[in-house]
Symmetry: C2
């Protein structure tokens, strides 16, 4: 029986993507070859990565606007150091909204001065700082759009003079935005875009003029841009499954339709959390993420009963991160409303049991 | 029809690996979940990566000998800079046997002095330098065991005082050796070990004591060792398919049996190259690689006829690298002797046509 997969990442992808991805392992496009055994320089794969790069820009509304998309190795964690290695010449600003922002700050400090322009560490990152001051003369400002662990999301991004960088690993392709506000966006694939193993980087082409340091090839955005994201062997299969997922997003109404579905799922679950006296939300209501819904029991003695309910209902991946405890329902694009209904009915059953 | 896949990499893997790998996309271990959607922190995946790490050491005869195996991101190209970032404090030696050695040298020069102890660049890398002098006081000596592009292979590794590092991307798990000669071995997975997207690093635990520089987390071997190769989300699927391939090697007699098969295939093809007046080998006979067999036509006017013969026989990936021209038959562990027989029969048909 197929599970209701609320895993925080790697996470659910569309069922039709799994089916096509499975078939490609046995025989890719009737070539008599598996997608796993073809050369990354073959026409077949070059057309995969080129379509994926162009579709990513298209979905974000950044086609023909001076941006390029790259599929790189190393996850968002490698972007933490690459952004700083390439662009932190003197001083950069970081908005600290959780574990991943903090890790980005740690890596950046090896390369230059870091100004923490705002932080919500005082309340275990359960909110997004607002009204923070941004000093002038920054090489860039870095932020994390959605905080997977804490279930918060930035709704309004600052208007600044400095280049704006954003780690969108856990909410890219989930909501409409003016993505041209950003100079560099990166996202580990393993939420809304594909399986673990590749990382999307969307970069304004002009930005590389700002590089002053001598940067090793694999960490050098200029090298990857000049080689059309093929400087070394890409993570062929992860890029392929990302393409299948990007096509699915496009064929199902693009980001606009994803956002509508995501809001419907979020409304349903947050409404139940707020209504049901056995649960309370973790994140500040105005900063709640539709992607990762963090909540706790009001009475910890009900834990065993609740865990039994959702496990028996075929739900997977609902345990909260150890930094927050309780529960986390990750509801990425591919999660269906029916799965959220199953979860809500478990919450209601718990209440009835009381 | 299944092709005879002589691709240089990504390359052929065992058919039974493809079948299990395809099934795991639809339903992994009857969990109701795809391998692509499970958490990397789940028991199921932790047991995958732990088995892969331990099996890699076991096959190399390095279990319980003070080594650890890691599955990292970024390909061998990232190891070019990681080895130097971590260990090149003053001066390192590099044996230059081709394109990949040269790239490793380029990255290393950003971190310290590089002594090219030997080079075969004078003859387009068609041989392995011997009798070179190794200066004292090196932080390490770096070599490339098998040169995919040129079809050469190091048969005897130097005995030195300095730590010995080796890029074994294109011949790891293909031949028996005393692997305890090496302090650090790395290999992009996409030849004998699995699909593109993960890189095996085998490192002597004591080596990390030699690190003097402050190294960013994702480039820091110590961080990856301390986190059991799970500092960030690994390339889940690439690690899984690597595990399936390592199991296949073990179940089919280990490296010893792989080497016997590889030698049988190499003998067959090199014998035909040396016998057939229409072909000549590229690499110096004593340095020939059983993994990548490079050869050219003696009469270029026969190219069209030969290309038609092998393409019609269902052979894939036989074109040589642009640096060498002609043909390259890559014959990794999973390639069957029958495929080589088909190639040899095409070469003989060309001769009969003459």
């Amino acid at each position: 029986m197929k599970k209701h997969n609320f895993s925080a990442g790697p996470c659910i992808l569309p069922q039709e993507v799994f089916e096509e991805a499975s078939q490609g392992i046995l025989d890719f496009q009737n070539s008599g070859l598996s997608i796993l055994e073809i050369s990354h320089r073959s026409e077949a794969f070059v057309s995969v990565i080129e379509e994926a790069r162009s579709l990513a820009l298209q979905l974000l509304g950044l086609e023909n606007k001076g941006y390029s998309a790259l599929f790189l190795h190393g996850g968002a964690s490698t972007q933490f150091l690459m952004t700083a290695y390439n662009f932190l010449n003197k001083k950069a600003g970081y908005l600290n909204t959780g574990t991943w922002s903090s890790k980005a700050i740690k890596e950046a400090k090896l390369f230059g001065e870091v100004v923490e322009v705002g932080s919500s560490k005082d309340k275990n990152f359960n909110y997004i700082p607002k009204d923070y001051k941004i000093p002038s003369g920054l090489d860039y400002l870095h932020c994390t759009s959605n905080n997977t662990i804490y279930g918060t999301q930035i709704k309004d991004f600052p208007n600044i003079d400095a280049p704006l960088f954003c780690d969108m690993s856990s909410d890219i392709f989930s909501r409409e935005m003016d993505f041209s506000k950003f100079d560099l966006i990166y996202a580990g694939a393993q939420k809304n875009m594909g399986p673990a193993g590749t990382t999307l980087v969307v970069i304004k082409n002009d930005l590389i003029k700002k590089v002053e340091r001598e940067v090793p090839s694999m960490l050098n955005y200029k090298v990857h841009l000049e080689k059309d994201s093929m400087f070394n062997t890409p993570a062929v299969y992860a890029v392929y499954v990302s393409l299948l997922t990007l096509r699915w997003i496009k064929n199902n109404g693009g980001i606009k339709a994803m956002e509508q579905n995501n809001n419907a799922k979020a409304d349903l679950l947050y409404k139940e959390i707020d209504r049901n006296p056995l649960f309370k939300g973790f994140a500040a209501p105005e900063d709640r993420s539709p992607m990762n819904v963090t909540f706790n029991l009001t009475d910890e003695s009900r834990k065993e009963a609740f865990d039994e309910l959702w496990k028996n209902a075929g739900i997977n991946g609902l345990n909260g991160h150890r930094s927050v405890g309780g529960y986390r329902a990750s509801m990425y694009n591919a999660l269906r409303l029916e799965s959220v209904e199953v979860l809500v009915s478990c919450m209601q059953k718990l209440e009835e049991q009381n």
